[in-house]
Symmetry: C2
Subunit: 259 residues, 2 copies
């Protein structure tokens, strides 16, 4: 892993670009962190369907999470961001644009777009995870928090080092990952935009039902795909705190207070 | 309002029993609070369908919430707790027990049980609210947080002093309150147990859809009626903090970070 740039942001967070072979990535660490610090837990964060790692919404979430005491990493995996795409990939994306313009159903096209994207991305995320955990001051347990639910499902099922997953429901989840959801057993926070135009609510609720995790929580808010309220960012970090920092109830009564 | 007893609990919370005419109630205030303190926001807390105000689950939630900086009040409204019931009330409850034993549908019986309970409880809750807000050191804005969703809907619609409502989905909501839900406009946290045996999930999701509030959030967790995880108690208080203590984002990035 080669660091190629380093920027101290105004909230103290250190933002570093890196390359790992062909894989470009970004690592954010808390302001108080140094390589000699006690390890901070690692959070892998991916934006949906290969959107670039520099997308401002992903960067904002990553910085916020880092400021809360995490090392946060993202990459542009194969076929994602600015990385080269195969002719077949380009064709599927052209088909998708045409179908969207024509108002035609896109499920089968999404299936052939997102399925291979996930298949190709997962090995690169795992290679990156290996390298990140060798850095001094970056440790386990590891969380996944991302807009890309399909990648998160596959990663959390395949990768025993991932101890908790925060997933955004707003994105196409291929049939393979809908099946794999049953094998996902880590604690889960599943975030749904109730009126997400392109993502049927019923399908998201079925996916929530399918997850094999004993601890799984659905948070749903009204509004469209990009309308997630700010407080869900805080809630997402508190979910990570509970599972990656072992934060229990802050008051003895909470431990014994059900509904 | 007459205070009839006063107990300092081990977490510092002051628990006081009171009567207001025929209405018995309990008020919890934070350990640091005195009548001369700056006002703490008031939270009204009701248990479902007239269960007694001394129910341990309600008391645990009330104490936790008080320890987080709220004045929390509950009452046994007319027909609730140990208060006398009419012969008609007793008959409906007998019908309900018989129907449950026989495995028969209970919707119509619940309608004739809960409808009048809500109708009779609301004026007493409003009278209590008037009296509570006259106490030194107890102020607005006021929240409702309770297992009794039907009462909360009616109160929050009828009572302009209520600024936020946390409702538990697990309880029968009469047709009148399902209609009134459309008129409810205050920020709302709606807590659903995904596998609540006696309360159909689809009906709860329809109720969430119906609420007129621009800010409404559904939290759903697996498990039965009494299986709500402890962290929802903390989430419920943070929801109140946002609306009754005007707590905004803790980090500038949160304010501009959508999904």
């Amino acid at each position: 892993m080669q660091f190629t740039s380093s920027t101290r942001l105004d909230d103290g967070v250190l933002e570093r670009e890196f390359t790992l072979g062909e894989i470009p990535g970004t690592l954010w660490t808390p302001g108080s962190w140094t390589p000699g610090s006690a390890s901070v837990p690692l959070v892998l964060m991916a934006h949906n369907n290969g959107l670039p790692k520099a997308d401002p919404r992903l960067v904002a979430r990553a910085r916020y999470t880092a400021a809360r005491g995490y090392a946060v990493a993202t990459i542009d995996a194969a076929g994602c961001g600015d990385r080269p795409r195969s002719a077949a990939d380009e064709q599927v994306r052209a088909d998708l644009r045409r179908a969207v313009r024509a108002g035609e159903p896109v499920d089968e096209i999404m299936e052939s777009l997102v399925g291979p994207l996930v298949d190709n991305a997962v090995p690169e995320w795992r290679t990156t995870l290996d390298a990140l955990l060798e850095l001094p001051g970056v440790g386990g347990p590891v969380g996944y928090s991302g807009g890309w639910a399909a990648l998160g499902i596959r990663l959390a099922v395949a990768e025993p080092r991932i101890a908790a997953a925060g997933l955004f429901a707003g994105g196409y989840v291929p049939r393979a990952q809908r099946e794999e959801a049953r094998q996902l057993t880590v604690p889960l926070l599943f975030l749904l935009q109730w009126d997400d135009e392109g993502n049927p609510r019923q399908r998201a609720l079925q996916l929530f039902e399918a997850f094999g995790s004993k601890e799984k929580t659905l948070h749903a808010n009204p509004g469209g795909h990009t309308g997630t309220p700010w407080f869900e960012l805080e809630d997402g970090c508190r979910f990570l705190d509970r599972h990656l920092k072992q934060r229990g109830p802050s008051h003895p009564v909470a431990a014994r207070a059900g509904s």
